[in-house]
Symmetry: C2
DNA sequence: GAGTGGTCTAGACCACACA
DNA sequence: GTGTGGTCTAGACCACTCC
């Protein structure tokens, strides 16, 4: 996986951008990069297009490829990138330690809505998992999720107290690579205020989503309520390929 | 633009998917499609990858290409799609009429921050445009934007009281095709409460972004404060090419 | 083994920016 | 005109799934 050519180029370029190794916020032209890395121009283009989709660079036909001046400017403590999926990996890792407090772990019949969202049959069961996520003892997110037992029949309280995605990937070879997400804001409820240490006037950010495995199987329906200071969703939108 | 090969294939495939012309939620294999359309397999792959990025199809190596059964309309009243850019076009049009109340329209020197974000020189000026957006007399968004005068020297109070993007596209042939957006939630300020008819405990959604023209030129820096009920940002995230 | 998507190459030609 | 990114082709070989 990591030995793909375009990925190696991608990572190297990303490093060099982050280390500020390009003058004038500008990258070398594609043909030079092709020669420099000893790969075809197509592979360079592929790496560059990933960076462009992530909003890290943008390309001007006829002029060159430039670093987005907004990149790295958004340095809030936490953020959820449009190009990240798992929560555990979404933190600015810095010096703080993420942890999880398990609030509920049970098995319930799938509602009709869940049946539709997770491709289940009537009578199928799901795990009902409610977790509080903290960062150095500061709670920032209440996360309620539903996962079909037939997809992950061996889940345990211990596992869900850690990273479910990491468990799946490392132990089961199942990789979560896609999600539909919906983001909203809302006043905090009493429970939000209690669990997240919020004042009544302080709101929460809502992120609802369905996560999919590699092969397109819907894997989890999740409802997340975030302390408002800890929601920053960055996304780069392009209509180029509509 | 519309005569690009991969776009023609893309639109044709999208139509055929929406008209349910593929059996078993499955598309023909890439080599057959290549032959069918009389184009190279690379062009087919490009069209398919756009559809995959939009969450419409997913590909299973070794098996084939399948239609995402979850592909369907999201039917909340307002929403801002990860694949929409302009505000005016982001409403479910229904029976309600969007309107704009101009709160401020002036020209000011670009701050250092704006100079960097909009690629300006010291001494350059920007329009400072503050607008209140309504939907059938119900205000839902305060929008504050900065646009370099040298990009749109002919802006007028009349124009900015309507859709700036539409004006640019129809009158100037400049198309906004990219944006870098950051979404957050925050308690409402006194001004928010007054302009958006919010109670003190009701929050706002923040959307900050830079909009880019077709050619990569940064065109507008915008700060939007939305009535919390009117922010729903939907997005499809894929890690395939991280 | 046959079929399918994934990666990569080498090169042609086009469209646009800038001097 | 030169340089840059954009599109497209034809074909090779790899990796995975399913029979």
């Amino acid at each position: 996986m990591a030995d793909l050519i375009y990925r190696k180029v991608l990572h190297d370029l990303k490093d060099r951008i982050q280390n500020d190794q390009f003058k004038n916020q500008r990258l070398p032209d594609e043909r030079s990069l092709s020669e420099h890395y000893g790969v075809s121009r197509s592979s360079i283009k592929r790496a560059l297009s990933v960076l462009a989709n992530q909003g890290i660079i943008f390309k001007k036909r006829g002029s060159g490829t430039f670093i987005n001046p907004l990149y790295r400017k958004n340095d809030s403590i936490f953020h959820y990138e449009g190009s990240n999926l798992g929560i555990t990996d979404s933190f600015k890792s810095d010096n703080q330690t993420p942890s999880i407090k398990l609030l509920n772990f049970s098995v319930v019949p799938a509602t009709e809505e869940l049946q539709q969202e997770l491709f289940l049959e009537p009578g199928d069961f799901v795990y009902d998992i409610k977790r509080l996520r903290l960062f150095d003892d500061q709670p920032f997110m209440i996360e309620q999720g539903y996962i079909p037992i037939k997809i992950a029949p061996e889940l345990s309280a211990k596992i869900v107290s850690e990273s479910i995605f990491n468990y799946l990937e490392e132990q089961q070879g199942k990789v979560v690579t896609k999600s539909f997400m919906s983001i909203q804001a809302a006043p905090s409820t009493d429970e939000d205020q209690k669990l997240l240490n919020l004042k009544p006037i302080e709101p929460v950010g809502l992120m609802e989503g369905i996560f999919f495995l590699d092969d397109g199987t819907p894997f989890e329906v999740s409802n997340m309520r975030l302390h408002y200071k800890y929601l920053q969703y960055n996304t780069f939108v392009s209509l180029d390929e509509e």
